[in-house]
């Protein structure tokens, strides 16, 4: 800009004034819908609030998290979230689900991304096809798969028995051994496309001449993948994995609909909502929500810290 310094600074001041005005609605909205409710949830976790009488909540300190009474015999009895086996079961389920699902999605996503990165007839069809699971609402996919995984009339049992994978029908969603497998199947089916697209975006930034050079040098394709593709796509892959991990940690819909009563699949979100709304243990549910928030907040900070370089690099 060629304007004189005073005009220029006046312009800048005007711009930053209107910038503040422009940001206000968004900041206010996020404060009312995210910031304040989060603080209230944390506050409720230190009270004895109940769903029917939230206003009468009284401060009880850390009682919901951990409390103990000393019996006359000298024995101490602990109670609260941190010694609740149902909670730790949910934590374990969430971790197990997140790690396994994201690992499978990364592998399948990588395969699909490599396929889509190749030149071939019908590539558009494949890309369109893999967008379908992504577009289907989670609730709908839970229902669709619930029907396919049905123990008596499910097509998956029929298919697996025809090919000889199993010799008797399995009650996928009801049996305690397979409930988690059922949830994993549906989640991997639904979210692998997202992973594949993110990895594909990373693959497309790799210049073609690197492969050209490798081919001329006679480098085996498998070696090309591990020596060239994987290291170069790693940043995009890591971002995709972290993104998906954070998302998987809060899973609710799929499990609520597909395996509602299974202790093997009850995750932190499902357990917390059950306590908050269904069991009228509002304060206890709030404590569980708060702990889940803390876990995810720590992971997010770690993720942002890892991605720091990228964030700064992208800014003007």
């Amino acid at each position: 800009m060629t304007a004189s310094p005073t005009v220029r600074s006046e312009l800048l001041r005007q711009r930053s004034r209107s910038a503040r005005l422009f940001l206000l609605p968004m900041i206010l909205a996020l404060a009312v819908v995210a910031g304040w409710p989060l603080l209230r949830t944390i506050y409720f976790s230190f009270t004895d609030a109940s769903l029917t009488n939230i206003d009468a909540a009284k401060w009880v300190g850390f009682k919901n998290y951990l409390s103990w009474i000393q019996l006359k015999s000298g024995r101490t009895i602990y109670s609260g979230l941190l010694v609740d086996p149902a909670w730790w079961n949910a934590v374990w389920n969430t971790v197990r689900f997140s790690v396994v699902s994201v690992a499978l999605e990364a592998v399948f996503g990588m395969i699909i991304a490599l396929v889509l990165n190749a030149e071939f007839k019908g590539r558009g069809i494949v890309r369109a096809a893999i967008l379908i699971p992504w577009a289907i609402p989670t609730i709908v996919s839970a229902r669709m798969w619930g029907w396919m995984l049905n123990d008596q009339f499910g097509i998956l049992n029929d298919l697996f028995m025809r090919v000889g994978l199993i010799d008797h029908p399995i009650a996928w969603t009801a049996s305690s051994d397979t409930a988690m497998i059922a949830v994993l199947i549906v989640d991997v089916w639904k979210t692998t496309p997202f992973m594949a697209l993110l990895i594909l975006a990373g693959l497309q930034t790799i210049p073609g001449d690197i492969y050209e050079a490798a081919r001329i040098d006679g480098v085996h394709p498998v070696k090309q993948f591990f020596r060239i593709t994987l290291p170069l796509v790693k940043p995009a892959l890591m971002v995709a994995i972290i993104f998906r991990l954070l998302d998987a940690m809060r899973i609710f819909d799929l499990i609520y609909v597909l395996t509602p009563n299974s202790a093997q699949t009850k995750t932190m979100s499902v357990l917390a909502r059950e306590n908050l709304i269904d069991f009228d243990k509002f304060a206890y549910g709030s404590a569980q929500s708060t702990l889940l928030f803390l876990v995810i907040a720590l992971m997010t900070m770690l993720a942002i810290w890892i991605g720091r370089v990228k964030l700064d690099g992208g800014e003007r």
Binding site: P133, M144, F293
Partner: protein, 276 residues
């Protein structure tokens, strides 16, 4: 030569497996939705019967049509409101230098990582306090938590990449920032607005946890809640034909939209994802 034929065949076999795995569940839901009575309980891989009875049932009975309308209203309002707030915010975040900009961007980014359950208790209180419990307004209000950070983020990255020159002429002419947004940026931003609007629409259309918690009557539910709570006369008698018909009705518009706008959606997803 034979080697390359084997390779090609293997490659196309892999392609076929991917396509079948991706499409089959939806295909099976569609053929199930056209089967009624006892036909539904015989396993068929191909469409063998065609009856629209399930569709007639689902539309006519209960509140499904009403719930569908609710979903459309809520999603449309959410998209409009979040785009309105996001466009102005994105302008400020991408084109103006001010202190705390990076911090604000990071805060917005971390809000999009919020587990919804973490705000559920507090939002429940706020929504009851505002008299929005069991209303569509309550859902529109609460959905801002996931559509707003996302739209702001994607539009900010989009606006940041536009060259400075396009603004300069307007600034020299003494245009106010508001005029710059509406006259200079909006015409350029249609592609980005369509993409983010569509993604926000899909997110609102699919939302379940808030819709389940903040509504109590069948008339105010959105379709995901209706589909999730479909049960027959007993818990073990799920009316599968009707559930599949409802699922197809809810999903077909989304699949059509996604296929029409697939390039835009992929670029929007990766902009929100890779850079996020």
């Amino acid at each position: 030569m034979p080697m390359s034929i084997i390779k090609n065949t293997a490659f196309y076999a892999l392609v076929a497996v991917i396509v079948v795995c991706a499409v089959f569940p939806f295909y099976y839901a569609i053929i199930t939705s056209f089967r009624t009575g006892s036909a539904i309980f015989t396993i068929e891989y191909w469409p063998t019967s065609f009856s629209v009875a399930n569709y007639v049932n689902v539309i006519a009975s209960g509140s499904f049509a009403r719930n569908l309308l609710n979903s459309i209203i809520v999603s449309a309002c959410v998209v409009t409101l979040s785009l309105l707030m996001a466009v102005t915010a994105a302008f400020a975040l991408s084109r103006v230098r001010f202190r705390g900009r990076s911090l604000l961007l990071l805060t917005i980014l971390s809000v999009s990582m919020f587990p919804q359950i973490a705000v559920l208790a507090g939002l429940f209180e706020v929504i009851r306090l505002l008299g929005l419990y069991n209303t569509l307004g309550g859902l529109v209000f609460s959905y801002m938590i996931f559509t707003l950070p996302f739209t702001v983020w994607v539009l900010t990255t989009f606006m940041r990449d536009l060259p400075v020159e396009i603004e300069e002429a307007a600034i020299v002419d003494g245009a106010t920032p508001w005029v710059i947004i509406t006259r200079v940026f909006l015409p350029l931003m249609w592609p980005a607005l369509v993409t983010t609007g569509l993604l926000a629409f899909i997110a609102a259309w699919n939302e379940f946890l808030f819709a389940l918690t903040f509504t109590s009557s069948t008339e105010t539910r959105t379709v995901p809640v209706t589909i999730a709570l479909f049960t027959g006369s007993s818990a073990h008698e799920v009316p599968w034909g009707i559930v599949m018909a409802a699922s197809v009705i809810v999903t077909v518009p989304l699949v059509v939209l996604v296929l029409i706008f697939q390039r835009k959606i992929i670029s929007g997803l990766t902009a929100g994802g890779v850079k996020g």
